[in-house]
Symmetry: C2
């Protein structure tokens, strides 16, 4: 005979956060943070680029706030070692569960700081202040955090929604040109999967975007936040619809890893977007000229649209098998039916693609 | 001018899990797991003690299932290094987000495996099969997971509720006597904070408990699950009421750390329960004879009721300041008004105690 006891976890109430977008607002943000999060101890996580660009000083305005500066910056910092160092720095500052973590930086800083906040003393709130095109378009919104293992990207992670996001589009002015351009690939992705009018706008205003016209950057950022936000609202823990945001990412993540992270995330995703387009062609989901149009936009951005010459297809296939969304060791792919509309099969947003189709595309990519 | 966009995270629906309690059920559990979680890939986390006690073999019944055996076992295994090794073992087995982690073991195994499940690819479900008195009474229920940093206990962690808990009370038969007894301290704690009838039952049946009479162990386990479960239901993320479960733990955790984890968790908590009783006496919350009665029960269990002689009070105070529930570098304490009823102040279940009161108690402990 067995005794049974049922434990009921109550429903958790809805929550939300506000994304505030402006130009040149960084210097006034701390007062806003004090107003919005007055009762919390503050801890800043940033990286050496933000220090040398002067953005950390602008944010703090001379205030004495404990901070952790990730160095060297970049994807290679996304290790458990970095997270351990951040958590021990918080402990050494005697910070407790009333801590607010403030992530100032790009996607890497957000991923690392978000994960550290998610697991510090079983979780403390985080605010994102994204400073790169990729983070402002994508990674600061939606609560995905993660770090890499020696085997794969984002092997460790958590869903940890921010308490607020503040975007100063002027901060992208200190990015190097390559990083600035690579980050715009996520904007192109948003337009491809969700809004053909947005793709028209991007295509028509690409020069103004590349010249960093404030009102155009704010407009693009607002568009990105609306698209990303609506997908996250529909599916906060990536059970179904949110997978559409992985358009171009299944091959993209593999390419990024295979390059030893020499390629920037957005650059690898650009290659992945072309791979998705070629899969769509091969599966006859693609109207004439669509892939050429997308390739043209990405080329104008100056990001890669083919595999680097030294990359072995077999290695990529092995990395694709380790994709975190893999079920039975092979991931499903997000494809589009037309610009602004994801292809669905049996209600699913991610569909089966035979390995030999992928292999064929990789060989031609 | 600032643009704003609001992201709404929808309410998450209520959930729950069943705790099943029996004697000698371990050998039949895998069939139950296959019935309840058929679509998941399985991965077992256990430790060397469970292997040598034969429990892993009993659970698997010759099936070929990927497993990670923590070695050496014990609190010192609660490091980020162990979690990293588990996650890389899951990756090497090509496991994805459809993985079910099965934790077979005591509180340490549950803490480590639960945390690994919480952060593997942003979270996969976990089932607990607790095999020690402390895990069956307490740690397998409620979703708290965590590992230690070089500075403090459970510095890293997450709330990650299990998908199910299966308790075979016969598995405690292979514990060494010291561990068996120490684990019963959490049962005494449950009775003290929540149910005076349960304390009467424990006191009257302590010999039968120590002789491991199955029906008494099942009854005690069921009582523990009801008390722990009801507190967790009222407060799944430890915002207020759940803190009552930390009775004896504020000093207890410090004593455990100061002993270099030579003391078992339950042994340290026993000392912490006496410390809480002495604080209650000093704050005149204690009716005559109450502390003596509790000390008598703990002494009959054969657990420590005083500080080890070599422990410096200053060191303990420093560790108490680092308590994860510390706010402004000093934690609040859970105290009782009478057996079965926590003392509340202004609606709070954890109350302020002046550092000099704690110092005075530590000097006399």
């Amino acid at each position: 005979m067995m005794l049974e006891h049922k434990v009921r976890i109550p429903a958790s109430p809805g929550a939300g956060y506000t994304i505030s977008i402006g130009t040149g607002i960084l210097g006034a943000l701390w007062a806003r943070l004090e107003a919005d999060f007055g009762r919390h101890s503050k801890f800043v996580v940033t990286d050496e680029h933000l220090v040398s660009a002067g953005h950390l000083n602008t944010l703090l305005g001379g205030r004495d706030v404990p901070a952790f500066v990730i160095s060297p910056a970049g994807e290679t910092a996304k290790t458990i070692h970095t997270v351990t160092s951040i958590i021990e720095a918080m402990e050494k500052a005697y910070l407790g569960r009333d801590t607010l973590v403030i992530a100032l930086g790009g996607g890497t800083v957000g991923d690392i700081a978000g994960f550290a906040a998610a697991i510090f003393k079983r979780g403390v709130p985080i605010v994102h202040i994204p400073t790169t095109t990729v983070a402002q378009a994508d990674s600061s919104i939606g609560g995905k955090t993660g770090i890499d293992s020696s085997l794969s990207k984002n092997a460790f992670g958590a869903f940890w929604h921010p308490a607020a996001v503040y975007i100063d589009v002027a901060t992208v002015g200190t990015l190097d040109d390559r990083q600035f351009r690579a980050g715009l690939v996520e904007s192109v992705k948003h337009a491809i999967i969700a809004d053909s009018q947005y793709l028209d706008y991007l295509e028509a205003n690409l020069d103004a975007v590349l010249q960093q016209k404030p009102e155009v950057l704010e407009h693009v950022t607002h568009w990105n936040c609306k698209i990303k936000g609506s997908v996250v609202e529909a599916d906060p823990s990536e059970r179904n619809k949110r997978r559409i945001l992985n358009y171009g990412h299944t091959v993209g993540h593999a390419v990024e890893a295979a390059s030893g992270f020499e390629l920037l995330h957005g650059e690898a995703v650009a290659v992945g977007i072309i791979a998705a387009g070629m899969i769509e062609e091969q599966m006859q989901l693609c109207e004439p000229g669509r892939l050429e149009r997308i390739r043209g936009i990405l080329e104008k951005l100056g990001v890669p649209v083919r595999l680097p010459g030294n990359m072995a297809e077999e290695n990529l296939i092995d990395l694709i098998k380790r994709d975190k969304k893999a079920v039975n060791k092979w991931p499903r792919f997000v494809l589009i039916a037309k610009i602004g509309e994801v292809y669905r099969q049996g209600g699913q947003y991610a569909v089966e693609v035979a390995p030999d189709v992928v292999m064929n595309v990789l060989e031609r990519l």
